[in-house]
Amino acid sequence: MLQYIAKRLLGLVPVIFGITLLVFAFLHLIPGDPVTAMVGERSTPEQIEILRKQMGLDQPLPLQYLFFLIGLLRLDFGTSIVTNVPVIVEIGQRWPASFELSVAAMLFAVLVGIPAGILAAVKKDSWLDNVAMIGSLVGVSMPVYWLGLLLIYLFAVYLGWLPPSGRLGVSQGFEFQAITGFYILDAILQGNVLVLKDVLAHLVLPAIALGTIPLAIVARLTRSAMLEVLSQDYIRTARAKGVLEKWVIFKHALKNALLPVITIIGLQFGALLSGAILTETIFSWPGLGSWIYSAILARDYPVVQGGVVFISITFVLINLLVDLSYALFDPRIQYR
């Protein structure tokens, strides 16, 4: 097993190298001079030259790439041109927000999706099954940002039940200090019920919007996996022995049906953590996605470069973890 992990980690090296190369190439392909775009048209040629030297842009491209790589190895992702904060510091500040949102979205997807899938499989071809499957098909067909806007309109503007954006109600004058950056955890640590309630209220709508696609995928997959397992001989044997139907479903069938579901949950989680750009933008969620998006608009190249590399590497590592976790759930899988 250890050997297998080492082999897989080694296999990641060329991929990560390729990611850095591609990101670097992309940013140098962008038409127009990045420095002029950064400092504005009105700056003097001297100012531009100074910044160019500062950023190492006067060096030949291969050398620039080498510096970029060496920086990455030292966890130096560059410095934001807009805020002048090191990219790695900003990543540290923002990833808890993205992580919290992704976990909430995944919880929503799993807690609704798995029961819906089981129910649809057990009551195959009933109206319940039809509703669940049509619902999940519509779920994967909807643009996430559109669903987000509709949710904001309905629950925040029209009904006024939930806050429309952000992570915390600023106007309410809470005495709250972010320690870990995970607001739910921070609120619990400080025993602040008021803040906890507010944080949770802010989390509901973006989590539903972000979680809808994984929800639909989880529900569909749970249903088909359950159907396959339920048609197998050992289930028939269990039923013939007179095992209660609920035991057949939850103990005998579900356990085996969950393996593919767990796989897809892992893969979706990787996609969520990184792909929340649209959702975070709609809900003004201060995570990595909205940060990279505003950096693209502001032409803050170090942020785009560092942020994209960070997110892509995280994505690759999560996918590897998912792969490795198969063994935990399915002892039949042998690693070589």
């Binding site: 991929v15 990101v23 392909l29 067909s141 559109w146 792909g275 750009i277 693209i296 608009l297 892509s312």
Partner: protein, 294 residues
């Protein structure tokens, strides 16, 4: 002897008829086909039924009117009839997704064929390229490509096309790997057929079914991704009536909440298009590739 009538033998051996019979049994496939055809016909008829010029159409006296008999879907911030805009948005969405999937299908299939057939170093390089493309979250990759090529419909087609490539490489390669060892390919090789002939005359036709299914499903994701780029402001620029751009327009100019019809209808149209492709893809999978159905 009557039991083995020729007609029975013929229907069961004609693959097209078998596919047709399978497809007819799939409810989602039928709904998807009707929806897709309906949308395509609507898109084609737009200039005939509702002539419209994006550059000049605006009527500030009728800004942000709620849906009524005069404007069935209301009007947008420039006083343009939303029904017309959504209708033309449908045209643009279909065109963009078709071209984007065309790019992905063409490049991806070619690379997949080459990788799977020739193996060796080429396969390693193409595999590396695929892994890297897949390592980027698709939205991020599309944003990167669209940023490089500037905000326009053309760069959206290109960006969305590029992110479809790895899917087609993987699919084609896996099929070629199993097909190249099959007897009919071996026979062709024994008869002296060249690589090009074997790939395009023997292997490619046998891989068409899964490719068609994947391409149909990809049309759905391409529509979503293209609209997403439009929403981020990286696609068609106003006044082009692109559905994602319309949503972005309403959201950014702050009337999405006070005039909700400006977001409801464009989003509904995107959902309808994607739903149509997904249903059709499901039905085609049932008919063409029954074993791969999850």
């Amino acid at each position: 002897m009557d039991t083995l009538s020729p007609a029975v033998i013929q229907t069961s051996s004609d693959p097209l008829q078998r596919i047709y019979r399978q497809f007819r049994r799939s409810t989602s496939g039928k709904i998807g086909l009707v929806l897709t055809l309906g949308l395509v016909v609507l898109a084609l008829l737009a200039p005939l039924l509702r002539p419209f010029d994006a550059a000049t159409a605006r009527n500030f006296a009728a800004r942000l009117k709620a849906p009524s008999l005069e404007f069935l879907m209301g009007t947008d911030g420039l006083g343009r009839d939303l029904l017309t805009l959504v209708w033309y948005g449908l045209r643009i969405s279909l065109l963009v997704s078709l071209i984007a999937v065309g790019i992905g299908l063409l490049i991806g299939t070619l690379l997949g064929l080459v990788a799977g057939y020739f193996r060796g170093r080429l396969d390693t390089v193409i595999g590396w390229f695929t892994d890297i493309l897949l390592a980027f979250p698709s939205v991020l990759l599309a944003i990167a490509v669209a940023t490089v090529f500037g905000s326009s419909l053309r760069s959206v087609m290109f960006a969305v096309g590029i992110i479809q490539i790895p899917t087609f490489i993987r699919l084609t390669r896996s099929m070629v790997l199993s097909l190249r060892e099959r007897e009919f390919v071996q026979t062709a090789r024994a008869f002296g057929a060249g690589s090009g002939r074997i790939i395009f005359r023997h292997i490619l036709p046998s891989s068409l079914a899964p490719l068609i299914v994947q391409a149909t499903l990809s049309l759905g994701t391409a529509t979503l991704e293209a609209a997403g780029l439009g929403f981020l402001g990286l696609g068609a620029q106003p006044p082009t009536p692109e559905l994602g751009t319309m949503l972005s327009d309403s959201f950014r100019n702050g009337y999405s909440m006070s005039s909700p019809w400006t977001i409801i209808f464009p989003g509904l149209m995107i959902t309808l298009i994607v739903l149509a492709f997904n249903l059709l893809g499901d039905g085609l999978r049932d008919a063409l590739d029954p074993r791969s159905n999850p």
